[in-house]
Subunit: 371 residues, 2 copies
């Protein structure tokens, strides 16, 4: 079990005993974060970014770590999330393996990684840990919480559970709860990992590692992060021409789309802790803002108090389909928030927010400029 | 390796040496079929049904086998494909495991099942074997070829390779070629089987059987046979209440949609030969009518000579998306065929033709009545 911590990550300690939504308690946990930009003397220019399942806290390059971040095109001086004006905090989610406490972290009670003994985590815990971190940084009120993908879930949870912590919200390809198609996909991803004999009930190591399961999980993910339309144009029926092919066995790969999935999966399998993947994946399935807050999803959304919100979705997104962002927009609006809903016709599916930044940039810039 | 042959199946021998599209030769192969209805004295009322990947030749109940068939609601006396008028022939595809020669059949050269040594099969071979069977039944011209799903591919191949063999055609959720999203899904299904250690390069038996791989392949299939919209309504976020749950391990099943996939997968894994699955799955990926006939897909479709065609697709189908049926309709129409294109707004996705027969019945009945 390994953690993958960005070089410039800083850490905020959670309370010594941090109570979890489902009843357990985490001891001595911490949250990894990075900041870009400068906090204003009035401490009123902080923008929090909550990430999807796999990214770390390195959203953008900055002097302490000049590597491009996972949202480099969107965050930086003069960019849509303009760090000349905003003090941007990006968090690694609780339960992840990129610096925040998760299954790959050492359990202070045993001196060994938690592994499968990491307590049951919920989206509400990810939200609470983020809220605690913001306050630990001396910020009483955020200008804006931005949540992308899974981060769009944890952001809603944070807003519902910590009223007044943010004035504005940008929800990017998020959802107020998981629906059965996405649950089915994630269930199959988890099953691929859990049934890999090398998962060994969560007690793997670098030698005996559930590589095959992680591989399948990632490929299945890629199928839902992009869109059929994009692939029709990008790959069509083009064959693999390179010799030797990566998978040349009986019934082996033959088309470029297969080779593309293979390359992406190879890059991922050893760079994300499998138990952490299982843990965050299940958090998403279990997330239901309406169930968590009581009263149903629409009511829970309408009770969130914000000045303004921007909700963006993508027409070709099959994992977090557009009607889920529409629900967020309508629900927030019903509660009196001034909401702008932007459906994008990007071809890139769920991942469009990472790729089609030419289209995502302008509404985000406009929203933040008006603040 | 096992074959699963319906009790009333009859058999047509292919020529002693049957040449395959990719160069090999099959020796002593046969095709399993069933017929419902009565061939007219002028032999002009035959309707051929070509199936998807998994069905057998038992499309509908008849006196010799009264079990309901896989298209029971559509085929029978007074039904849309009315067996009071039509002599309906349903074939099991060459390469399958339900009576027609395939990897689970005995290789006459060795006296043992072909297994992984079954020669490379193509959609063109499935089509040629079907054409041969029709002629062996003494039918020079079919009134209509109906192809559903993969059968919509083999039907187009048959029409292109055997001009004049049919007057009419009904293409149901078919395609003139495989596109990258479907290729990626099937590639992942094959990978799940191939990487199951019990697949053993295709040399499994009932004891050491790639059950886990077949399981994953089937679940992945179910994800693409239905639609997110259907599941939102059908399952929503309902939990499994039955105790014990089928999969109660760590990160085990919790939602009804997971339990549904589990049940469907369990019913399938031991009832379809894995090598046969691999073989037919690859036939679909490789199928490209334009490449096969030369000149591109639209031209290949326009060269097909028919009197009339009905092309049906489903708006929620993500495996054989609607634009593929639209392409078939446009291509056939450009060649002078009188084409009716019917896009259905069924919620059931690709499988709608098996379920939403209330909607599929009327256009099929109308089309065949007018013949």
């Amino acid at each position: 079990m390994r953690e993958f911590i960005p070089s410039a990550a800083r850490f905020a300690d959670l309370p010594a005993r941090f109570p979890l939504f489902r009843g357990a308690t985490l001891t001595g946990a911490r949250i990894a974060y990075e900041t870009v930009g400068k906090l204003s003397p009035r401490r009123d220019n902080a923008v929090l970014i909550l990430t999807g399942l796999s990214p770390d806290a390195h959203a953008a390059s900055h002097p302490a770590d000049t590597r491009p971040g996972w949202w480099e095109a969107m965050v930086g001086p003069g960019k849509p999330v303009d760090t000349d004006r905003w003090y941007v905090i990006c968090l690694n989610s609780l339960g992840s393996c990129k610096g925040s406490t998760g299954p790959a972290s050492v359990d202070p009670a045993t001196g060994r990684p938690y592994g499968p003994d990491f307590p049951e985590l919920s989206m509400e815990d990810i939200a609470d840990a983020a809220a605690h971190t913001v306050r630990a940084l001396g910020i009483g009120r955020l200008a804006c919480v931005i949540g992308t993908s899974m981060g769009g879930m944890s952001a809603l949870s944070l807003l519902a559970r910590h009223p007044g912590l943010a004035r504005g919200h940008i929800n990017v390809c998020g959802a107020a709860g998981a629906l059965p198609f996405a649950i089915a996909i994630r269930s199959l991803q988890r099953e691929a990992i859990r049934t890999d004999p090398d998962w060994n009930q969560g007690r793997y190591d670098d030698g005996a590692y559930p590589e095959r399961g992680m591989f399948t999980a990632r490929k299945l993910g890629m199928l839902t992060y992009r869109s059929a339309q994009e692939w029709d144009v990008r790959f069509g029926r083009t064959r693999i021409t390179a010799q030797p092919r990566e998978d040349d066995g009986p019934f082996g790969h033959e088309f470029q789309v297969e080779s593309y999935l293979e390359r992406h999966a190879r890059r991922f399998t050893r760079r994300f802790d499998p138990n952490s993947y299982l843990c965050l994946s299940r958090c998403m399935d279990r997330f239901d803002l309406g169930e968590s807050c009581g009263g149903g999803t629409d009511e829970a959304l309408s009770r969130i108090s914000l000045e303004r919100a921007l909700v963006i979705g993508v027409e070709t997104d099959i994992l977090f389909p557009l009607h889920q962002q529409e629900q967020i927009a309508c629900g927030l609006s019903a509660g009196g928030t001034d909401v702008e809903f932007v459906p994008m016709d990007s071809a890139e599916g769920h991942d469009a927010f990472l790729i089609d930044t030419a289209r995502f940039g302008p509404p985000v810039a406009k929203f933040l400029t008006a603040f």
